[in-house]
Symmetry: C2
Subunit: 431 residues, 2 copies
């Protein structure tokens, strides 16, 4: 393998074989292929693309760069879920205990907030005492004992992904479909799973803003999965408005618990149930999505999912109190209502602006090294299609200071649109 030749081949739109990809990635990890050659390669991949065969080869090479989790001795199917990220997307949090209480084993390796999107780890860490930095052994033990856990990526899981992602992040090559696919699948496959359900978000608050791009990514994920012999099932779901009402770390945990109590927002509950059903089908614990949905709903209605959540939180050191106000989660010192300026039907609730506003409130981060405020956030009191009268509360801002709340209120003015005519509530699941 000559690194220059690999770059040139991809630059000219050629198809790389697995030996070339392996040699290049191994050389990069060993420090023999310098960062600048990797960066040029990433830009060539970004602009020239990769076939599903090349993407699968890159995924295998990345997977082989690390040490997979050893959880294959679990007494049931190992299936995971991944989301490409959005605003208010706390689904992993209620989903894991629902799936685990139905018999699945879910070693959910999650990520952090970045830009306008939230991160499952940051949300969970708003629970006092909750630890997400788990080693491989603890992850294995928790998954075996409770059917799942919420952990950050271990250092050894897919070192090639860490290296490539850091460079992609600095070189405007994050958006490349084959690089996204190999990054997602290598990490998920390193969990030792037999199947994964991927929620590809689409819209203003998502990484993929257009339906064509989202479908392209979904197709590439399924094709690479097929090329690797692992079951990859994708859903394309809408991310034009935030998912649920709550956006912000502790606020989303609160909403997740309410969903497990059977009183969550309709979109959060229906997406949780649907994704759980897809996972149950992938794990052969349900013969159809409809029957999977029945199982998932019964796990919630019976209280088994909530009980499982409490067990997992306790096992990871977290302290929640279901009888306390806000379940004992941290609360922001300032809460401020933003009323509607006029009357009409809410025609637009811009997920990106809401996400950016939460980030500005301290609930997210612009750079990887920034800290997040667990209590800051926004509750969207109206969703697209709702009728609103002038003066009615639209948003509830949770902020560290009155000045921050005021700035957020001004920023949110651009987040909504109104119509004189009734607006159909948009459908959540597109494909």
């Amino acid at each position: 393998m000559n690194a220059y030749d690999v770059i040139r081949k991809k630059r000219d739109g050629g198809r790389l074989d697995e030996d070339e990809i392996r040699g290049f990635v191994a050389g990069a990890l060993a420090g023999e292929v310098p960062d600048y050659q990797v960066a040029a390669f990433l830009m060539a991949v970004m602009l020239r693309g990769m076939t599903s065969g090349e993407t699968a080869a890159l995924t295998r090479v990345m997977l082989a760069s690390g040490r997979a989790l050893r959880v294959d001795d679990c007494p049931g199917p190992l299936v995971d879920k991944h989301s490409t990220g959005g605003v208010g997307d706390k689904i992993s949090i209620p989903l894991l205990p629902v799936a685990a209480s139905c018999g699945l084993f879910v070693p959910m390796i999650s990520g952090r907030s970045l830009g306008h999107t939230g991160g499952t780890l940051d949300k969970l860490e708003s629970i006092p005492g909750f630890a997400t930095a788990l080693d491989e052994e603890s992850i294995g033990r928790l998954v075996r004992a409770h059917g799942g856990c919420f952990a950050g990526q271990t250092a050894d899981l897919v070192p090639a992904d860490r290296m490539l992602y850091a460079l992609r992040d600095a070189t405007a090559t994050v958006e490349s479909v084959p690089l996204i696919v190999s990054s997602i699948l290598s990490k998920k496959l390193a969990e030792g799973i037999s199947g994964v359900v991927i929620d590809v978000k689409c819209g203003r608050g998502a990484f993929m803003e257009t339906l064509a791009d989202a479908r392209g990514l979904a197709g590439a994920l399924e094709a690479a999965g097929a090329a690797m012999g692992v079951l990859v099932k994708t859903l394309v779901t809408s991310m034009d408005e935030p998912l649920g009402a709550a956006v912000g770390n502790a606020l989303e945990i609160e909403e997740s618990i309410r969903a497990l109590e059977g009183r969550g927002p309709a979109d959060v509950v229906s997406l949780t149930v649907r994704l759980a059903a897809e996972m149950l089908v992938a794990g052969a614990l349900a013969p159809s999505v409809a029957e999977g949905e029945d199982l998932a709903r019964r796990a919630i209605d019976s209280g088994r999912a909530l009980e499982r959540f409490e067990r997992i939180v306790a096992a990871q050191g977290g302290r929640i109190d279901l009888s306390a106000p806000r379940f004992g989660l941290p609360a922001a010192p300032v809460a401020r209502i933003v009323p509607a300026a006029g009357s009409g039907y809410l025609s637009r609730l811009d997920a990106r602006i809401v996400g950016e506003t939460v980030r500005e409130l301290g609930g997210g981060r612009l750079r990887r090294e920034d800290a997040v405020d667990p209590s800051a956030g926004i509750v969207c009191l109206k969703k697209t299609g709702d009728a609103v009268s002038a003066g009615e509360p639209l948003f509830e801002i949770h902020a560290a200071t009155a000045a921050a709340a005021e700035a957020a209120a001004r920023r949110l003015e651009r987040a909504t649109g109104f119509s004189g005519e009734p607006i159909a509530r948009p459908s959540l699941i597109i494909d």
Copy 2:
């Protein structure tokens, strides 16, 4: 200027303004923009291109990164020539004294052999004692006193080009037209010239193999020159077969001297005269190319050009003896004739294979840090279109050892083709 945003804009095919280019290049030179971001940018430019306005802006920014030569007090027009490089292309060597003896001032900053192509500096250094590592002050003094000199790039001339070129060389982005144009023009403009004639080589032995690519580069060079307000005149010339007969350092000096003596190969002499004429027109010392050619021919016929060459060589420490065999240049220990295997008309004399063979003999280099053998090389005794009888000498190989000569002879078998029908001698100047 945010480096990430500049990369992303070019990645998406956007047009960069001069402030963005200046900030990016200045940041890279200052070490604030890391190599890997520069590499990703270069690949984005390679695959997305640049407008002539962007190319001119990049050229200006690169030019401003260094210190231009101070030769503007010369008592005549400052005009230079550049070639994109080929095999047997020693034209700069006879051209400079011809142009200087006609009243032009030519601060010729030249390069070295790389890959299958030769380098003017390596050729001149085959002259015992000849020094090409001159500082700015020496260059200025020699140009003022003798009308020209042959020097390597000084450290301060265009530091941005050194930095970018080193990365291009490692990232398969050397072939980008806007990057080639800005590299050539920034270095030429740093010489303080008012005009430059550029010989864009086209064919098997050239960087640009197709006429379309060569014309594209020529057009981009002229457009960027126009955008910068400097006269850039291009010729597209054929580089399918080597220029002249000699390929190799000392061998090419010998042929250059013979050209100045009025007995050089027809193609070497006619291209020297044509390029000198273009330079004289660019410097307003000739009203037309035809009259410029008359002036150039008279400079050769009168012996003034040869005398000027002797003066410049002596001023740079070189020792040649026009009455000695091979002018006192180093000779290889082994000389071997390659005879023709059959009879016919020479239909092909592959410049690239000849150049690679000379490199293998030690006359060129694969890596920048390799040393070159001044005496190794090949003399092509027949050119395309010549009638050849079986057993007639085709090549004369000059080598360090008999084994090297034998390997070269075998390699040269692939360099020629024969036809039973007469072949028209190809025309040298295409555009």
